[in-house]
């Protein structure tokens, strides 16, 4: 299946060594943005080229790769990147968080807890957490060098003064190991607490901006806040309509043009495995048949998302998988 004429995992060995050197430096200085010679990749900038280069550099033949976008293994970009590595590296892929050794993600951290030995690879569009307040790179680098982050709190102050609370909901800036201010990538702030003292190694790649950075296992990661306006995460009034989870990030699914909607887990694998284990949510229990019909009819899909496709089926469709490799 590996496309001929290209190196294992696409990048040539020298480039991978260069990126691994940059990653080692990033691990040594948690949260610090290390410049690296980002290459043009066969996918466009902004579509995960940083994450892909990091994954390509750390991936070995025995690794099991999971790729998600918006929490789902089946979004177009996740499928595309998984196909890329299936073609160029021929590694095993999986939907299951617990089975994966390398997880490349865009915009989410899986709900299932991560373990030691796992590597999270985040796709980062803008590595500089101060960029919206200060566009000049020469200035932001100086501010990092001096740990001069006062004006980040000015922004939070303004939010509270204007809205009564901090109004940043995603890409919520964090302090890493009490030293470097870091963008966690555009994950919802709901996921920020998962960064803190995670047993997994967390690597961040920004291809277009040519930076990598890292949070080593068990590192302190704190979201910026005020003592009297502590950091808090989103909560929903209802559990996942399909699996009943009340601890996961929920996507809003519009059911019809009359305002009908339901909330379901953004982490499709988490939701599916909970349903597999027998958990059900309110919508699922009450109107299983009519709902599935409504969704298929209204949104024009061939198969509803909530159907708990087994891992084997997914692997077979991808033409490969842990069993067939």
């Amino acid at each position: 299946m590996s496309a001929t004429g290209y190196n294992f995992a696409y990048l040539d060995p020298q480039t991978k060594r260069m990126i691994r050197r940059a990653l080692l430096k990033a691990v040594a200085i948690p949260g610090y943005q290390v410049p690296f010679g980002s290459r043009e990749m066969p996918l466009p900038y902004g579509w995960g080229t940083g994450g892909i280069q990091v994954t390509a550099s750390v991936l070995g033949r025995d690794d099991v790769l999971k790729v998600i976008d918006q929490g789902s293994d089946d979004t177009v970009n996740a499928v595309n990147i998984r196909r890329f590595f299936a073609r160029t590296a021929d590694v095993a892929t999986t939907d299951r968080t617990a089975e994966a050794t390398v997880i490349q993600t865009r915009h989410r951290i899986p709900e299932a807890p991560l373990a030691e030995g796992q590597i999270m690879v985040y796709q980062v569009p803008e590595p500089e957490p101060m960029r919206r307040l200060e566009p000049r790179e020469a200035v932001t680098r100086t501010l990092h060098a001096l740990a001069d982050y006062g004006f980040m709190h000015v922004k939070l102050y303004e939010d509270i003064a204007r809205y009564g609370h901090i109004a940043t909901t995603y890409d919520y800036p964090v302090m890493v190991n009490g030293r470097y201010l870091m963008s966690p990538s555009p994950i919802p702030k709901f996921d920020n607490p998962k960064l803190h003292r995670s047993p997994a190694l967390q690597l961040f790649g920004a291809g277009r901006e040519k930076r990598v950075y890292a949070v080593p296992p068990y590192t302190r990661v704190e979201s910026l806040d005020f003592e009297d306006h502590p950091f808090s995460v989103q909560r929903w009034d209802e559990p996942c309509a399909l699996c009943g989870a009340d601890d996961s990030f929920l996507d809003e699914v519009v059911l019809d043009d009359a305002g009908g909607r339901m909330f379901v887990c953004s982490d499709s694998e988490y939701c599916a495995s909970r349903q597999h284990a027998g958990h059900t949510g309110p919508a699922h229990r009450a109107q299983r048949g009519s709902l599935a019909a409504a969704r298929a009819g209204e949104v024009g899909i061939e198969q509803g998302k909530p159907v708990p496709a087994s891992n084997d089926t997914a692997s077979a469709r991808l033409g490969r998988g842990p069993a067939s490799s």
Binding site: Y6, P35, F36, G37, S38, R39, E40, M41, P42, P44, Y45, G46, W47, T49, D69, Q70, G71, S72, D74, T75, V76, N77, V79, N80, R83, R106, H107, P125, P135, R136, E137, A138, Y163, A167, T169, Y170, D171, P186, I187, P188, K189, R208, K210, Q234, W236, F249, D251, E252, V253, S266, R295, V299, I301, E302, K305, V307, A309, A314, R317, L318
Partner: protein
């Protein structure tokens, strides 16, 4: 819900097939060959080579064919191919003074040694659609000149240099090896060699707009087209085992030397300053715009206050690359519903808070 569907892979494969079909167009019309593109759309091919940073007419023509004529897409294809190639070494500096000139003009001298050589140019054509091309007319036969051009035409701008009227073009102190932007990230402040590399790969449209802005008062550099030349130059490398330069081929380049506003003071005699542009192939518009922007970016070194967009190195260099820009602008097409959901939830909550506060306010009012 295109994103949440199992089977996205099939959709992606189908989209790819549809694209291939759309590219081919009407099968009743014969397919365009890569050789035809390379031979008959040479200016399009030149731009793909220049901004794709790879001098290969066949691959650039292939990229244009695959991209259905979309230049930025073709540039992206060529770049993604280029990055996988091994790096054997670096060539010796091109000596454009020894160019086999096909075109050489100067706007600053009425006449100069070797003469003004117009070459193949659109400059003096009347832009009238030539309907005879619809019928597939034959190319005219060009008469040979009475006497051949001298093998090497000296650069007109060097005449100024002999009198000390223009700043000399010298390597920076210590003559450090220039950075290689295709291997190392851009960092600021960026030296001139780095800036020129960035501009040479930069998007023609972006440079054209910036160069144009300098002529309309957003930084003023009083440019004159000192010399523009196009033709073939020899490419030489020094293999380590040989220790001397050997020619490995020749490439077509266009070079533009702008003569700009003089600088000086009561103690240092005034001299004209330079802006420089160079690109693969026939690329006159690009190199002229590049030279204008190069000169504008030298503001700090020449003691000018950086105020206009074309003078802001971080602004210009960070946004010139159309592969980076095209990717990032279009990544907005990717699903963003998790972030949007977070914002949606916040806006709903804030609206609810205001709605519940309103009746109370009305009562107190």
């Amino acid at each position: 819900m295109y994103v949440a569907v199992k089977g996205g892979e099939t959709a992606i494969l189908n989209a790819g097939t549809l694209l291939a079909q759309a590219r081919r167009g009407d099968p009743a019309v014969s397919e365009v060959s890569v050789a035809q593109i390379a031979g008959q759309l040479r200016l399009g091919v030149a731009r793909v080579m220049a901004e794709g940073s790879l001098y290969d007419e066949e691959l650039a023509a292939l990229a244009l064919k695959q991209a259905a004529g979309d230049q930025v897409e073709a540039i992206f294809l060529l770049r993604a191919y280029r990055t996988t190639l091994p790096r054997f070494g670096y060539s010796q500096p091109l000596d454009t003074a020894r160019m086999a000139v096909r075109r050489r003009i100067s706007a600053t001298f009425k006449e100069l040694p070797g003469g003004q050589v117009l070459g193949p140019t659109y400059d003096y054509t009347q832009r009238l659609l030539d309907f005879s091309l619809l019928a597939g007319g034959e190319a005219p036969v060009v008469a040979e000149a009475a006497q051949p051009l001298p093998e090497h035409l000296p650069r007109g701008i060097d005449l100024l240099g002999e009198e000390g009227l223009i700043e000399p073009e010298l390597p920076p102190p210590g003559d450090p090896a220039p950075a290689d932007l295709s291997r190392e990230p851009l960092s600021f402040p960026a030296g001139r060699a780095t800036r020129l590399q960035n501009l040479a790969r930069g998007d023609e449209g972006f440079l054209l707009a910036l160069g144009y802005s300098t002529q309309r008062g957003y930084s003023h550099t009083h440019p004159f087209a000192g010399e523009i030349r196009m033709g073939e130059v020899a490419l030489e490398v020094v293999p380590e085992e040989l220790g001397f330069a050997i020619q490995i081929g020749e490439i077509t380049v266009t070079e533009c030397q702008m003569v700009n506003q003089f600088a000086g003071s009561s103690t240092t005699p005034p001299q004209f300053t330079r802006g420089y542009g160079l690109a693969f192939g026939e690329a006159e518009r690009k190199t002229m715009a590049m030279a204008l922007v190069d000169r504008a970016l030298r503001c700090a070194e020449l003691g000018e206050e950086p105020a206009a967009p074309a003078q802001q190195a971080e602004f210009v260099l960070s946004h010139s690359d159309n592969v980076e820009a095209g990717g990032f602008v279009q990544h907005l097409k990717l699903p963003h519903y998790v972030d949007f959901q977070s914002e949606l939830e916040l806006v709903r909550r804030m609206r609810a808070a205001i709605a519940s506060a309103q009746p109370a306010q009305e009562q107190t009012a």
